[in-house]
């Protein structure tokens, strides 16, 4: 501020009279020429906001693996036996399930054998393995899971790793990159589950992690919408996810905007993970509310 120290504006805050000055200005309000609005919005459009840079899928996956490792390392015996809602499994059982899913993912990448069971049924896959792990020690299960995850990380760091290769998970036609993001999303969800079950403090995802996960989810919404309601037609929609790691996404093509939805990025990710119902999501919607409801329902398609 270059207002001189000996003038009213320099002292207004100190004196607590800024609201009085703003009120005095009200009578002077004059509509600016319409061209100013246009110029302002053009200048704004020319200076896009610098947001958290998305991570590479392999980096996101590794980061979430590290988060879960650090959490498991501090669990005590009671923690391992607490129920990990919304599942009937204990925390131990949930980590055994993750072990199965890491092995399943590794098998899709050509690493190791496919676990026994219906590969389209995420929760039923590898039941025998889960039962065997639960019969053993939690620390051994944690170690087995960590090794399985590390094999995927090592593969993603290896020469010849192809992030664009197909990786069809549970019937979803993912690429390897998309598959790793989906896996990271699951790890983020279960870290939250375990923290909740054990009353450990939350391990918040970084803004770059949230940005990567939310971008992945929002960009898939137009493709997922028909699976929710074939009668719904995708139309230009703005999705605004607020908070660190959020962003502004225009999906559904160009043209006049049919809908706008604003929500907190972490809460949105919880909807995607089926930890919050779409109807429970605190949000602002403008325009086509039915379309927005359909998109929020569609956002949960990958969660199991």
């Amino acid at each position: 501020m270059s207002a001189e120290e000996n003038d009213l504006d320099a002292r207004a805050a100190e004196w607590g009279v800024e609201p009085v000055l703003a009120a005095l200005a009200e009578a002077d309000a004059t509509s600016p020429p319409p061209s100013i609005r246009t110029v302002v919005l053009e200048r704004v459009a020319a200076t896009p906001r610098l947001l958290a840079e998305p991570l590479l899928p392999a980096d996101l996956y590794e980061s979430r693996v590290e988060a879960l490792r650090s959490l498991l390392a501090v669990l005590d015996n009671d923690d391992w036996h607490r129920q990990a809602a919304p599942y009937e499994w204990s925390v131990h059982g949930l980590v055994a399930h993750l072990l199965v899913i890491e092995r399943y993912s590794a098998a899709l990448l050509g690493l190791g054998e496919m676990p026994a069971g219906d590969t389209d049924d995420h929760l039923a896959l590898g039941r025998d393995v889960i039962a065997a792990e639960i019969g053993g020690s939690p620390l051994a299960t944690a170690q087995n899971w960590s090794h399985a995850a590390q094999a995927i990380i090592d593969h993603a760091r290896s020469k010849g790793f192809d992030p664009n290769a197909p990786m069809a998970m549970h019937g979803w036609p993912f690429s390897v990159s998309s598959g790793l993001v989906a896996r990271a999303f699951e790890l983020w969800t279960h870290v939250e589950d375990i923290c909740r079950a054990t009353s450990h403090g939350a391990i918040p995802a970084s803004s770059r992690e949230l940005r990567t996960m939310s971008s992945f989810s929002v960009s898939s919404l137009p493709f997922l919408l028909p699976s929710v309601d074939p009668e719904l037609v995708m139309a230009p929609t703005r999705v605004v996810l607020t908070g660190p790691g959020g962003g502004t996404f225009d999906i559904g093509g160009r043209g006049e905007r049919a809908a706008l939805v604003v929500a907190d990025v972490v809460d949105y990710c919880r909807v995607v993970a089926r930890r919050i119902e779409p109807t429970e999501l605190s949000r602002t919607v403008e325009g086509d509310t039915r379309l927005v409801s359909g998109l929020l329902e569609a956002s949960r398609a990958f969660a199991v």
Binding site: L21, A29, L51
Partner: protein, 203 residues
């Protein structure tokens, strides 16, 4: 402006509370790059910002200041601290500071004579907020007129003309300390009369 709300009583506290939430959500949207949120804020406060600048520097320069204020909000939304006051107040103060800078750097007198007549926008996104502001504005004008003459004159020179305390003192034939004291006392009295000081209904 706000004719829809003139015929009914405003619940000041409720409107203020919802306005704060509304402003915070819009700024949160700006922080993640939503230009539609900035357009909404412009539609709500553009006339205020333009009016402040027009009074001090005339309509031509006011157009530039108006642009600068909103582009600055886009570039640095975190400069607004909701704990210190409303977005309306924040933008008003930024507009004044920029206008006074312009005035002093150009060496010009205030441009009252160049001002357009009041022509506030017919449509604003948040009608209740605008109505509250209008009521506060009307009330404070009445309160200003009721101030003791020396206080009112000192405020008019400092606020509407953008004069420094020293210039106010010269214009009123008083000392700088007296001019400053009159302005401060007068403004505090306005704030008390309208219950719009620090933490009351209108921030």
């Amino acid at each position: 402006m706000c004719s829809r709300t003139r015929g009914r009583a405003l619940d000041f506290a409720a409107v203020f509370e919802t306005t704060v939430d509304w402003e915070q959500q819009l700024v949160a949207r700006i922080e993640v790059g939503d230009d539609a949120a900035l357009a909404t804020i412009y539609d709500q406060y553009g006339a205020l910002v333009h009016g402040i600048a027009s009074r001090l520097v005339g309509t031509d320069a006011a157009a530039d200041i108006c642009q600068e204020v909103f582009v600055a909000l886009w570039n640095q939304p975190d400069r607004w601290d909701p704990g210190r006051g409303s977005l309306r107040t924040f933008l008003a103060m930024i507009a004044r500071r920029r206008a006074i800078d312009h005035l002093r750097s150009s060496g010009r007198r205030t441009a009252n004579e160049q001002r357009a007549h009041r022509a506030a926008p017919a449509i604003v996104p948040n009608v209740d907020e605008a109505a509250l502001a209008l009521v506060a504005g009307d009330g404070i004008r009445v309160a200003l007129a009721a101030l003791p003459g020396p206080q009112r004159r000192a405020i008019e020179l400092a606020y509407f003309k953008g004069l420094t305390f020293r210039q106010v003192a010269e214009a009123t034939g008083s000392t700088e300390g007296t001019a400053k004291s009159r302005i401060r006392l007068g403004l505090r009295r306005l704030g008390e009369q309208l219950s719009i000081t620090d933490s009351v209904a209108w921030q």
